[in-house]
């Protein structure tokens, strides 16, 4: 009887030690997660605190006269005349009407600096949409200049940033504020316009469309190719030195820095095949090269995870190999493959380096409508804005990052959801 007792004592003694190390390990784990979470929280608060302002923008209310002579056109239906019209004259005249005492060149210039240089064109669009307004006058909320926007927001927050403001401008803003003729509105331009040199007119629509087109092409190419390659390698290819070699190289490819793919794309698609620069076709091809290894690897893992008993069952029933794959392996592996594809797409969405190499970094105002229109993508747009000197681009950059991050979060969440949803037990 004494023998088992000593054993028990030994176990109890060691149990203390084991529990202690388990506790320590648990705390290490919690600490690690805490650090990770803290990093995410800091990143998100920083981005949101910088970027939230960009979703609202300053508008001024002015009384405008749609004066035919002032604009200098006769026929609103003639596009050539529309182009030649002096549209900016309308808001300028409206400003003079609002502040009749202003005189002198310098003062006038800073007066005109209150509104966006694109305000006249907005009025043109409004006039073309309602031709009856010609000759009439009305009160219109017009986009303010970006410096005014920055100042007004900071002034509302109680720490005015007036570095780029004249004293007169500060007075005028205060006056407009008292009259209720200046306000912040939802910045719909951010989502409906392309890039612009003027921060207040710049939007991410062009970049979002560019990203969308590029990703559609990437998905259309890389998913079928990747899945086919994975199925072939996993189910049909003989296991020999060649397939080992291919496997090693696919893994290598997955680890190649993305900028190399950009160089490759530049050399092959642009210099050799003469596809134009800056277009989603080349972007999609380059990102296909980049995501292909990811998709192949995850698809192979998904295929491998299909239990061999299912394969044996199918083959034992007299299914051909092709039928076994199509009827049994593929449906079971599909959730894993889709998850891999979504993760690959998320990677591709966030990629900028290879796209810089193939010219998708150009300044493009027009919103791309097709795969062969010059375009840029969201991360590159972020890069471009982050690089711009205008202060108003700081919040725009953060806002674009927020949009990019929300796309990524949506994609990754849907990957998790899809996996949970489609997963079948056996």
């Amino acid at each position: 009887m004494s023998e088992p007792m000593t054993n028990l004592e030994k176990i109890r003694k060691s149990l203390n030690r084991r529990n202690r190390s388990e506790n320590i390990f648990r705390w290490y784990g919690r600490l690690a997660i805490l650090i990770g979470l803290a990093a995410v929280v800091v990143l998100f608060t920083d981005i949101v605190s910088k970027g939230h302002g960009a979703f609202r923008i300053t508008y001024l209310q002015l009384e405008v006269d749609y004066d035919q002579e002032l604009i200098g056109i006769d026929n609103l239906a003639d596009p050539r005349e529309l182009v030649q019209g002096n549209w900016q004259a309308i808001p300028k005249q409206a400003l003079r009407k609002q502040f009749p005492d202003v005189s002198g060149r310098t003062d006038k210039r800073s007066l005109y600096g209150l509104i966006s240089s694109g305000a006249g064109f907005d009025l043109k669009d409004r006039l073309v949409a309602n031709p009856l307004l010609l000759g009439e006058s009305e009160k219109v909320w017009m986009l303010a200049d970006d410096d005014i926007d920055t100042y007004y927001k900071s002034w509302l927050d109680g720490e005015p940033y007036a570095a780029r403001m004249t004293d007169k401008q500060i007075e005028w803003i205060a006056e407009l504020h008292d009259q209720g003729k200046i306000r912040l509105q939802f910045n719909s331009n951010l989502f409906t316009r392309g890039d612009s040199r003027e921060p207040e007119q710049a939007g991410i629509r062009g970049a979002v469309m560019g990203s969308l087109l590029t990703l559609i092409l990437t998905l259309m190419l890389s998913f079928p190719i990747g899945v086919a390659a994975a199925i072939y390698l996993e189910e049909f290819a003989p296991k020999n030195r060649w397939t080992d070699f291919i496997e090693v190289n696919i893994n290598n490819l997955a680890a190649v820095p993305s900028i190399i793919f950009g160089l490759l794309g530049l050399a092959i698609f642009i210099n050799f095949f003469h596809i134009p620069r800056s277009v989603p076709i080349v972007g999609g091809l380059v990102l296909t090269l980049m995501t292909l290894p990811t998709i192949i690897i995850t698809s192979r893992a998904a295929i491998k995870s299909v239990p061999p008993s299912i394969r044996e069952a199918a083959l034992g029933m007299g299914a051909s190999k092709y039928q076994m794959v199509l009827h049994h392996v593929l449906p079971l592996a599909l959730p894993g493959m889709l998850t891999g594809a979504i993760i690959g797409m998320a990677q591709a969405l966030g990629e900028s380096a290879p796209l810089l190499m193939i010219g998708m970094v150009a300044f493009i105002v027009d919103i791309p409508g097709g795969f062969s229109d010059p375009a840029t993508v969201l991360p590159v747009q972020i890069f471009l804005w982050a690089d711009s000197p205008e202060r108003a681009f700081i919040e725009k950059t953060s806002a674009a990052i927020m949009v990019l991050l929300s796309f990524l979060i949506v994609m990754n969440t849907s990957a998790v959801w899809l996996r949970k949803r489609l997963e079948r037990r056996w």
Partner: protein, 289 residues
Amino acid sequence: MSTKNLARAAAKANLKVEGKQNLDVADDQVTVGQSFTDAPKMTIRNVNVFYDDKQAIHNVNVDIAKNEVIAMIGPSGCGKSTFLRSLNRMNDTVESCRVEGEICMDGEDLYAPKLDVVELRARVGMVFQKPNPFPKSIYDNVAYGPKIHGLADSRVDLDEIVENSLRKASLWDEVKERLHQSGTGLSGGQQQRLCIARAIAVSPEVILMDEPCSALDPIATAKIEELIEELSENFTIAIVTHSMQQAARVSHRTAYFHLGRLIEVNPTEQVFTLPEHELTEAYITGRFG
């Protein structure tokens, strides 16, 4: 191989050797008993099976008669599954596996280059040790074989095949209300019967069963044994089992394997009452295995 080596091999195969029983197998070991029949469904001649360089089956010669149930018994690792799987060429799926010799069904060489394994496996069905229904509905599980082989001309036909197969597998009454629920939601025993129904849905000529009851409770086992008896009226059945009682209950002849060699084949009653070979005797009296 010397006697010493074989003794070592026997030890390696994890045999509990008791007393002075001589468990060695001679190189020129000939199967004792009644290996051959007058009306064979399958004839197996000089079959050797290798995994890479390792030989798992040594020179097996045996006939499987039409409509008989032949049981294969033997210690773990002796090559029963390997042998069974070579009968419908499931070993083709194992990269390293190589089969030598001649296996014929109705006089037709199963390893002939022009033979299509898809056709072969439709004629020689298999039930695996672990129930492995497809993660599809019960109906689709049974209908799968007839569908891919184009055996049903219409939906009504298919329904009939499914119902008949499930009835034969004595599963119909338990599942007729939920044919469109997943086959993986059934109990282990039901799943195994589903796999049997799936195998007989294509009306194979031979059914191979690899320890079909190893995961089942006595009641489910009894059901499947009953089923095997019924099936033997129409089918030829080769069954691997670890349970000697089961072999005694269901089979007409019993084959005893030992270290990759077929030691003895005899009518079942004889194997269990008057084994011809001392190894068989040692095994069935529980001295090892």
